[in-house]
Each structure stands twice: as C-alpha cells, then as structure tokens.
C-alpha cells in the first residue's frame, strides 16, 4: 500500500505503524460523571465498517507524523490523508 503523506508525498505503508480507528483521537473527559462508560466505549467498541474507514497511521520509519488516513476496507482505496494533529484540533482537542 502507498500512503500520500501530506508533507512527504507517496510513501510505502511499510514505513508506517498502524493503530486503528481515528475515533481514538476522541478521548473522553475523565471528569465526566459517566467517564468509565465513556472510556469503555472509546477504547473497546468499534464501528468496524465494511467501507470507508478513518484510521490512524504513524510514520514511524519517517517523520513521526501521526496521520488520519481515509481508506476503504473492501478495496483499500485511500481517498484522503490528513495530519492527525489538524484533525485533532478540528475536533476540538487542545491541551
């Protein structure tokens, strides 16, 4: 597989380490009254779609960027690659 790194261009996926669903960015607030339930859903439950999947890849043998890759789980077609940090900010994460 080839991943079109937003900063570095096309790279072999072998340079990357895969983590999983990009929803892992959405770490719940530990102070919530239902924090344990929210953390359970966050850490353990997955949509696991048979189609488009947004997922986290880490350019471990490269520039160490975490990327959010949008990839089809049936065809492996990649339609979008973003810096995970930008995605995280867009989802309201800060400090």
């Amino acid at each position: 597989m080839m991943i079109d790194h937003p900063l570095l261009g096309l790279r072999d996926a072998q340079e990357f380490t895969y983590l999983g669903d990009a929803s892992l960015i959405d770490r719940p607030d530990w102070r919530s009254d239902t924090a344990q339930e929210e953390f359970h859903d966050y850490l353990y439950l997955r949509d696991n779609p048979a189609g488009e999947h947004r997922e986290l890849w880490y350019h471990e043998a490269g520039d160490r960027s975490w990327l959010v890759v949008t990839r089809n789980m049936l065809t492996h077609e990649i339609t979008q690659v973003e810096l995970a940090r930008d995605v995280a900010r867009a989802r309201g994460r800060s400090k």
Binding site: Y18, G20, L43, Y44, R46, N48, A50
Partner: protein
C-alpha cells in the same frame, strides 16, 4: 449412509452409483426453533450439537455463500490446547478432547492428526513464560513438555542451530496438538447435521433481523423471511457487519491473516513448529505442501487478501528458522478475515436483544475452537445459560475489567 472402508469397496465394485449427497439443499421452512446465521465451522457445529445433544427439533443454518467458505476453509489447520489463562483453559481443553473423538462422532475422517506442536523459545524470559504456560497447561489437564536445545534438535535437527540470529534455547512441546483437515470439518459437521434433520440453506444471505419490542423473531434473507424462536449468529469475519443490523457495536475489528502453502514435498516436518523470534509457524499437510503463516497484515480490512510486507516477513522468518527451505517454492497464498477482539479472546454470549445470541471474536484461532464453540453455543441457545467451559466469554467483560488477554497486548486488536 454410513461411511466405511467396506462401503468404499462395495461402491467401487458397483460403479460408485450409491453415493448420496453429503448434505441436502432444502428450501427454507417458514419457521425454525433455532436459526444459525453462518454456515462456517462454528455455525455447522452448533447446529449439529443442537440436534444431537440438545435434541432441538427444528434447526436451520443459513449461509450467504457456500458452506465452509470462510475461515474454516482458509486457515492453517492447527488444533491445540495450550492456553495460559483460566478464562480460556477449560474451553480449549474441552475442544481438544472433542477433536479426539470427532471422527467417530461424525462418521467422517477429518484427519485429526496429533503430531505435536512445538513453540520455540529463544531467550531466558521466553523460557520463563513458556514454563508458566506449560505448567498452566498441565494444571488444567492438558499436556506440555519443556524441551532444551538438545530436545528440540532431536525432533527437528534441520532447524537453524548454527547460524541463527536468535539462537534456539528450547521449546514448549504440546504433543496432543496437531492438525485437522479443515474443509473436512465443515463437511463432516454439515453431513452430520443434515443427517439429524438440520436444514442447511446455502446461498441465502441474511439481510436483516426482524426485531419487535426487543425480541428477535427471525431473519430476513434473500430467500425471504425465516421465523425463529432464537437466532444464533456465528459469522466470524463479518460479525460487526451482521450485528450492526441489530444495532450493536462490537469490541471487534476485522483484519486479514494471510496463509501460504508450498509446492508438494516428500515428508520434512512431522509436527507443527512455531518460531519464537519471528512471525512464522509451519506444518506439512498430508499431501506434502508446507502450510505456513505469520502475522496479520496489521491494518483493518474486509478484503480477503494481503500485501507484500507480511509475505516477505513470514518467509524471511521461515528461512531464518529452516534454511533448508531456500529452494522450496511458495505455491499459493490466501487471506482470511479475522474477527480480532479487544483482548484476543472470543465471545459466546446473549445480546441485549431477546432471542439473539452471538458467537464471534475468534481472532486467528477459531478453527481449533470449532467443536467446543459449537457445543457451548448450542448449550447457550438451548438452555439460556452459558456452558461451564465458556463462562468467561462475555460481551461485557471490558466493562467490568475482566479481560482475557493471553498476549498482554491490551485493547489493540492487531497485536493479539
């Protein structure tokens, strides 16, 4: 019709005219006591045990394609009971004992061959871990032997003892482990279930569950609605897709595991070998092909195919361990979709929908579980109580913090 050597002789002398279909192709009835979704090994075994041991009268198995086309038909055929944790031990212990009696029970030769599984160790820490595991196995009633380097050499003199990057320091030998002819398991259960009156309905895809007021009444299929007292789902590889129809999100991801077979060779490897310093395990089929595999491809996928990095990694590991295979050719590769669960262990449980039951999350180890999975799922479906060997396989175990994590990798499915 019972199979036997005599029967073969009789048929051979009469032109093989007497062989009947191994299973029928019935049209679905309007209603069954229990409908099993998924005609793989686990689904067919469940149906068989429902009919045989729980005397359930009307059982159907509905299968989207042809039976046995999923992971029961695309694995590396290994059976074993070498588990560490108490949530797993009784289950795999039961499963291996069931394998030992399977062929007589099914009247089908699935070539259960207990040729021994050897897990190699390469460091002192691995030896400590192997000792803990081996002791756990013995304490749970299974067999294990801890071999030193010489013990390994006696069994497999052609492993790389001389020039290895990671020297072989011993191995954990599980003599009762071995291999089984995988397709024959699906066919044997199908034939057995069919003979007990189970309807196996092929090319019938479940498109939805009919759920009213929290109760599952049956399944909508490409061959129409099929009513059911209870519905059991055993569709590993597609679990998330199917259970989503019932509104459930599962602690499961789908990943592809590739497997490989070499060209046929005269006997080389008597048992199953697992490399401890690389991703490689290998056995040799009765036909002569080396059957081997390694790690999953790491990324989520529903495509039954993999990519080069894993192929190369597996073969590099293989040649590092067995240099004599350098000129042996890899003949065929294939990929199977694994239900990778969050702790590497499976689920056999009820769901929040009344009358809907779930069996899945088998990771890359579902094949060896087939008999016990069928029996335990049948038990749950028939009695509404978990079988004592499968009590830990609850869907809510992550909520309560009772993970069954053999590999200690945590909630990252691709590492299990």
């Amino acid at each position: 019709m019972a199979y036997s050597g005599l029967r073969i002789i009789k048929e051979a002398l009469t032109g093989h005219k007497g062989w009947r279909p191994a299973w029928r192709d019935p049209a679905p009835k309007a209603h069954y006591d229990i409908v099993i979704v998924g005609g793989g090994g686990h689904g067919l075994a469940t149906a068989f045990y429902l009919a045989k041991r729980y005397q359930t009268a009307k059982v159907a198995v509905v299968e989207k394609g042809w039976i046995g086309g999923g992971n029961v038909g695309r694995n590396t055929t290994i059976v074993r009971s070498n588990y560490l944790l108490d949530g797993n031990q009784p289950f795999y212990n039961l499963s291996l004992r069931m394998w030992e009696d399977l062929e007589q029970e099914l009247n089908y030769n699935a070539m259960v061959s207990q040729r021994g599984i050897l897990n190699l160790v390469h460091t002192d820490a691995q030896r400590d871990a192997a000792r803990r595991r081996g002791n756990a196995m013995i304490l749970a009633g299974d067999d294990a032997e801890l071999l030193d380097t010489e013990g390994v050499r006696e069994l497999y003199p052609f492993l790389n003892f001389e020039n290895a990057r990671f020297p072989i320091k011993g191995g954990l030998l599980h003599r009762r482990g071995g291999t089984v002819r995988h397709d024959a398991v699906a066919w044997g259960y199908a034939r057995g279930a069919d003979r007990l009156g189970v309807d196996i309905i092929q090319n019938c895809e479940v498109t939805d569950f009919r759920i009213e007021q929290g109760k599952c009444l049956g399944v909508e299929t490409t061959k129409g609605f099929i009513g059911a007292g209870k519905v059991g789902v055993a569709v590993a590889g597609s679990s998330s897709r199917v259970m989503a129809k019932a509104g459930m999100r599962l602690p499961i991801e789908s990943h592809v595991l590739q497997a490989f077979v070499s060209e046929g060779l005269k006997p080389i490897i008597p048992g199953v070998i697992t490399y401890g310093a690389g991703h490689f395990y290998c056995s040799q089929s009765d036909k002569g092909g080396l059957v081997f595999g390694g790690d999953i491809d790491m990324y989520n996928t529903y495509a039954q195919r993999g990519n080069l990095p894993v192929i190369e990694d597996v073969v590099e590991s293989g040649i590092s361990l067995i240099p004599a295979l350098g000129r042996v050719r890899l003949l065929r590769s294939w990929g199977g979709i694994m239900d990778m669960s969050m702790d590497g262990s499976p689920f056999i449980d009820r769901t929040q929908v009344d009358g809907l039951y779930f069996n899945g999350g088998w990771c890359y180890g579902g094949f060896k579980a087939t008999p016990a999975s069928g029996l335990c799922f049948a038990h749950l479906l028939a009695t509404d109580t978990p079988h004592e060997a499968a009590q830990a396989y609850r869907l809510d175990r992550f909520r309560t913090g009772r993970m069954i994590d053999e590999k200690g990798q945590g909630a990252q499915p691709n590492l299990h």
